[in-house]
């Protein structure tokens, strides 16, 4: 009996040593991302990469969005962060903390053509002439609408080139029809986090969130205050449900349950909406024009490298592959992301069963990149928190904007 046990133990130990020895022969690169909907596609992309680079083993670490930044910060502190990770608008914070590997020398060494990417997205990851990430994809914000509800109440459909006032008119007609039929739909819904709502309205109405050299907050601008007032007016007129309703159930969920005619939403939910049971009735149109324009926020992701990556050459190979033609084609065909790589954009739109995804590219042409600065992680929560108070009626737009302006400007002033 004892002998068998001893034998087994030796066998287990040999096995354990054996596998570690084998594993050491390969270079391990860890790769962190946050979207569980995209992970299956990245499993495939990484498998292909490993086929082409047999010496490199990639481990994908999925961390949910709600935990992603916390974990990244913690892991950076503990030096256990992944070698390659998704980055977005928070990039300046990490670049300033010098935890991201500067990529210019790699790009030069491989003579990578950076003009192959959409310029706004590419430039979003450049700080003082230094690139810190290769672009992955981009998100645009536009209006989705449920044609069936418009037709049911005999109201004209929204069309490109419409204005905010046009929208209010249509929504008012909708409301009359809905009230008459007592059918209980909402004319307009939104999700009131910044990207799909007020971060678009602020510049559309002539205000700004942060100026171009990232030194001044724009919440003292008249246009900024007005944009909040216009959203509040929609609620006051009863053509958009009030904040309590919108904060309890996400706008997209209301739209998906066919309880809403007009939805302001990002392209990141396009795949979800295309799979809805009533998707053939969903129309797409760029946002209505406010006083100034109808520019919308362009969000995006990039692949960045940890400055403490164990094997930087291997990590760079992975990044180059992830941002390259093959990977972008797979992501586009899987509808998981609009490629920032121009040559791969053709693969995206044709895969939608019902939605006209060409609208996204049209919107992208005038998009401006999600506002950011070094301490974005400090001021963005302030903006979100006070905006919630404004939109729920707890403070007036004037007072709220002043609160944001003071706090945000103080944070910006402490940056240099």
């Amino acid at each position: 009996m004892k002998r068998i046990v001893a034998f087994l133990m030796v066998a287990v130990m040999l096995l354990a040593f054996g596998t570690t020895a084998l594993a050491e022969a390969k270079t391990m690169v860890t790769f962190a991302l946050w979207d569980e909907n995209q992970k299956p596609m990245f499993d495939e992309i990484v498998a292909k990469f490993q086929e082409e680079n047999p010496g490199i083993e990639v481990e994908i670490q999925l961390t949910p969005w709600s935990q992603y930044w916390t974990k990244l910060d913690a892991a950076m502190g503990a030096e256990t962060a992944a070698d390659v990770f998704w980055m977005n608008t928070y990039l300046p914070k990490y670049a300033a903390a010098k935890v991201l590997e500067p990529l210019n020398s790699y790009i030069e060494q491989d003579q990578l053509d950076m003009d192959a990417y959409v310029a706004v997205v590419r430039d979003a990851y450049v700080i003082d002439g230094q690139s810190y990430a290769l672009p992955k994809g981009m998100d645009t914000v536009q209006v989705f609408f449920n044609k069936a509800i418009f037709e049911k109440h005999g109201v004209d459909l929204p069309h490109e080139g419409w204005t905010w006032d046009d929208m209010v008119k249509l929504a008012t007609q909708l409301k009359e029809g809905i009230d008459k039929a007592a059918s209980g739909e909402y004319p307009i819904v939104m999700e009131l986090d910044p990207q799909p709502s007020y971060f678009n309205f602020i510049p559309q109405d002539g205000g700004f969130i942060i100026n171009e050299d990232r030194t001044k907050a724009g919440f003292d601008q008249e246009g900024t205050v007005n944009s909040y007032k216009k959203v509040l007016a929609l609620m006051a007129d009863g053509i958009m449900p009030d904040f309590k309703v919108l904060s309890d159930t996400k706008g997209t969920d209301l739209f998906l349950s066919q309880k809403a005619a007009i939805l302001f939403m990002g392209s990141w939910k396009a795949m979800l909406l295309d799979d809805a049971s009533f998707a053939e009735h969903i129309g797409l149109v760029p946002m209505p024009k406010m006083d100034n324009s109808n520019v919308s926020v362009l969000g995006g992701l990039g692949f960045a490298m940890n400055a403490k990556a164990k094997d930087k050459e291997a990590a760079w190979k992975l990044i180059k592959y992830l941002a390259g033609e093959e990977s972008n084609k797979m992501q586009a065909e899987g509808k998981i992301d609009m490629p920032a790589l121009i040559s791969a954009q053709q693969y995206y739109a044709p895969n939608f069963k019902h939605l006209d995804a060409s609208v996204f590219f049209k919107v992208a042409e005038t998009g401006y990149f999600f506002p950011t600065s070094q301490k974005v992680a400090e001021w963005l929560p302030v903006v979100m928190d006070v905006s919630t108070q404004i939109l729920s009626g707890a403070v007036s737009p004037e007072a709220g904007c002043q609160m944001i302006q003071e706090q945000m400007q103080a944070i910006l002033d402490s940056e240099q």
């Binding site: 569980e36 949910p64 935990q67 992603y68 913690a74 996400k250 997209t252 349950s257």
Partner: protein, 263 residues
Amino acid sequence: MHLALVLLSFITLAPFVWMLLTSFKTFEESVQMPPDILPQAWNLINYRIVLNKFPFAMFYWNTFAMMGMTVAVQLVVCSMAGYAFARLQFPGKEFLFTLCLALLMVPGQIFLVPHYDIMVRLKLTNSITALWLPKIFSAFGTFMLRQFFQGLPKSLDEAAMIDGSGFFGIYARILLPLVKPALISLAILTALSAFKDLMWPLIVNNAMDKMTLSAGLAMLIGEHTTIYPQVMAGSALAVWPMILLFLMFQKHFVEGIALTGIK
């Protein structure tokens, strides 16, 4: 009387029943107002989606490994200390025991930032060890087991001593078997509170495949959309193991919990 009991059971059960019913509905059925009570068909699609999207097998494994380790190590650590405090004389005993009791009253949040930093320093974040390591040193468990050891007749020790047993032998072979009911109760209480804990697992393990059921459930509320039939399916999947254990060992559960109330 019966009416009151029926009402009570209804209030208790209705949320569970609604959770189960919703978990079989399609999204369209779930958002229909006024709602139908029963799903049109008993389909398992929501369960399949949730099981596909989230590593439930890992959630179960992490949860039960954590509970097992917490219980096993805590019982050993606390029963030894409980025995020593009850039966042995050594200088400083009163002081050390009082100190131990004082820690009972300190709210847990005050330790979390340092605990987290300890785990980071030991490179234990995102591991099962991190889930149980800070939980095994229980002042409550020590206190409770000490009470039980004190309740045993002193003559047991003396007889064993004459037979040549050492202190450790007396603890392990003579007394420990006699406090088995207390050990079971403590095991159940410890397992239950480890099972329910949310904050610590949320803090220390962020990788999806290192989460417990409790923290994993927090991930069901999606970033993109909240499909409640799927959320309810996930909740049902997280809830049944403990309910099953409870139904199997109801007597021990009740005794264990009741014991906490007896001072």
